[in-house]
Subunit: 139 residues, 2 copies
DNA sequence: TACTAATTAGTTAGGGATTACCTAATAATA
DNA sequence: TATTATTAGGTAATCCCTAACTAATTAGTA
């Protein structure tokens, strides 16, 4: 019982290590070592809300519009987002993620994808199916 | 093949969700919603280096001693660390983690432990052994 | 219909609190 | 005299604000 737990702990630590190596890889590819938690959070919010404008982002994050302008200017300088003017209304600009911005916003997800690929390379078909059946049961 | 991947992705997302629920639980137990990444990093460094003094922590983190004094004062106010004067040398104080400080420094680890307990509750002995055998192969 | 008035979207200007660093000087101990 | 930690004073960046502004659009009215 206790031995099993120890085993599982080591195995999952290994998986987590692989995953964080992958996500570090993603971040260092973006060469943004001093990005802040807030900035990452803004990028995720932009990623999750399609067609987001300055006013809308201010609303979602419950900040003032000048705060959003400032934050977006910063993220533009970091090459994570850009402004796309609305075709139909000259007052409106949409905030879009660049490739780099999207990479950062989805780093967790992408790292997980890489871990799964590693997993699929290491195991045969039957083992993968077995793994799926077992882990499905965890709630 | 692609279906397996999709399955695995959903299953691991679920595990990660469980884990981050656990670690959020740990953090909210500590009632420290506005702790910074730097502060967490200092706590981890203190946890990993036994008998660490102000000078030593300055050396490890490559900061000046006044920076360390200030940071430790902040962490003391947050009840995450305390000073323990050295018995043999009145100039020296060791930096020790409080229960709360240790909780935060090891949140990841503790969350993983909770996930594994959940896993062991959901699976029988044979399944656990099978899981260990399969996941062992991932490198 | 055309023109003014009001509204809306985003920006600028100026400011404040906090974090996280620094050097120089100082106090206490070895 | 050397070492450990602290105090004093300062800087830069982040992340937030209000008030005032510009430009674009919409509504109201003559």
């Amino acid at each position: 019982m206790h031995e099993q737990k120890e085993h599982l702990f080591l195995i999952f630590e290994n998986l987590i290590r692989i995953k964080s190596e992958c996500s570090c890889g993603i971040f260092s590819e973006c060469t943004l070592s001093d990005i802040t938690l807030k900035q990452i959070h803004y990028l995720k919010t932009i990623d999750q809300n399609k067609e987001v404008t300055f006013s809308r982002l201010a609303e979602i994050t419950r900040n003032s519009k000048p705060t959003i302008t400032e934050m977006i200017n910063k993220l533009v300088r970091m090459e994570c987002v850009y402004r796309e003017p609305c075709q139909h209304d000259g007052r409106i600009a949409y905030i879009r993620l660049t490739g780099r911005g999207e990479m950062i916003a989805r780093a967790e997800q992408k790292a997980l994808e890489q871990v799964i690929e590693r997993l699929m390379d290491s195991l045969d078909d039957q083992e993968i199916n077995l793994l799926i059946e077992i882990l499905k049961k965890v709630r």
